[in-house]
């Protein structure tokens, strides 16, 4: 039995009840206030996943949520880690409740579920790994934002197209190291 496989199980929540409640609160707050950036680093997932993305997966996933691991994220270590800590099945993009990877790996947006008119909540949430995350760039307006906010987005045009689908569409978390920000489908985006 290889050591790397065993190491893949480490890095979960030290105190699952408290850590996941804190992480959920952070995730909820960034989603409620697009443009806000918060710390989220209570889990240490195997490479190449960032601490923030790993913490989100541990907090939001369970055996009933399908996860799509895009591109370089789809490693045996990460699959084992996810199975051990959450029991979440790894699925294709079209069936995913959550998808994780860099923006380029997650593209195109078409296969992901955007919900139906009766059940707009049956849509995917994308966790986008970013090289940098800062409150600069595209201008955001909408629910949860007083006047306007700014956030560095990977592709403002594609995200604006997603917002046009409202009330259907995808929701996004952006993660970079131990930081997280979010962009719900209800936010209107205009170029910086």
């Amino acid at each position: 039995m290889s050591v790397s496989l065993n190491r893949a199980y480490g890095g979960g929540f030290a105190d699952p009840a408290v850590d996941s409640a804190r992480a959920f609160r952070a995730a909820m707050n960034v989603m409620a206030k697009p443009g806000e950036i918060r710390d989220l680093d209570s889990a240490q997932p195997p490479a190449p996943l960032s601490a923030a993305a790993g913490t989100l997966l541990l907090t939001l996933c369970d055996p009933e949520t399908g996860v799509y691991l895009a591109g370089a994220c789809d490693t045996p270590e990460l699959r084992g880690w996810l199975a051990f800590h959450t029991g979440a099945p790894v699925v294709a993009a079209a069936e995913a409740d959550f998808a994780v990877g860099t923006w380029a790996e997650l593209m195109p947006l078409d296969p992901y579920r955007i919900g139906t008119s009766e059940y707009p909540d049956r849509s995917a949430t994308l966790i986008v790994e970013m090289d940098a995350l800062e409150q600069a760039g595209a201008t955001l307006r909408g629910p949860g934002i007083k006047d306007s906010a700014t956030l560095s987005l990977p592709d403002a045009a594609a995200l604006a197209g997603n917002a046009m689908l409202y009330p259907l569409g995808l929701d996004f978390f952006f993660t970079c190291g131990g930081k997280v920000a979010a962009l719900p489908r209800s936010t209107a985006i205009s170029e910086g």
Partner: protein, 169 residues
């Protein structure tokens, strides 16, 4: 915290032993089953009798939850839910990276920890010593208990038979 599904539990253990041979997996299934059902006092006594207490890191601290026990009539019929059962589980890793899982019935965390340590040691060079000191006596004691109980029940067995049935006479 609920341990969510029996299926999930099995999948985890299978992932863990996936690299091993079928025979190794079968053997591990045997001692996991033994540890899961072992009476607490006996298991802890044997464990402290073994002496060694290797240092380890938690992968998952002991937590108690419920799992749905499923059964099949005669072992082949359609599966049905027998009922929920309280289970305590934990996972840990020894200094050399060996992972041990403990799944035991009831809510004793000490017992889950001992079971996980024994599972981890059974995958190391200490396996035969652990088997001699803990698993064999445990299996023997549990078999004796089962046979005693079966013998007590057998003593009250009544065979009904009729030589001449009433309606025939």
């Amino acid at each position: 915290m609920a341990i969510q599904k029996k299926n999930g539990t099995e999948a985890e253990i299978e992932t863990e032993t996936g690299a091993e041979t079928g025979a190794g997996q079968q053997a591990r299934r045997g001692w996991m089953s033994l540890l899961a059902r072992a009476p607490e006092t006996l298991l802890l006594a044997l464990w402290s009798g073994y002496g060694a207490s290797p240092s380890f890191d938690w992968l998952r601290r002991p937590e108690t939850g419920a799992v749905m026990v499923r059964g099949r009539m005669g072992g082949t019929g359609a599966p049905f839910n027998l009922g929920e059962m309280t289970v305590t589980r934990c996972a840990l890793t020894l200094q050399d990276g060996t992972v041990g899982h403990g799944y035991v019935q009831g809510r004793s965390k000490a017992r889950a920890e001992a079971a996980a340590l024994i599972d981890a040691l059974m995958q190391t060079g200490a396996a035969s010593a652990v088997r001699r000191a803990i698993l064999d006596p445990l299996a023997e004691a549990m078999a004796t208990t089962r046979e005693d109980r079966a013998a007590r029940a057998a003593a009250t067995k009544v065979d009904f038979f009729t030589l001449v049935r009433g309606e025939d006479g």
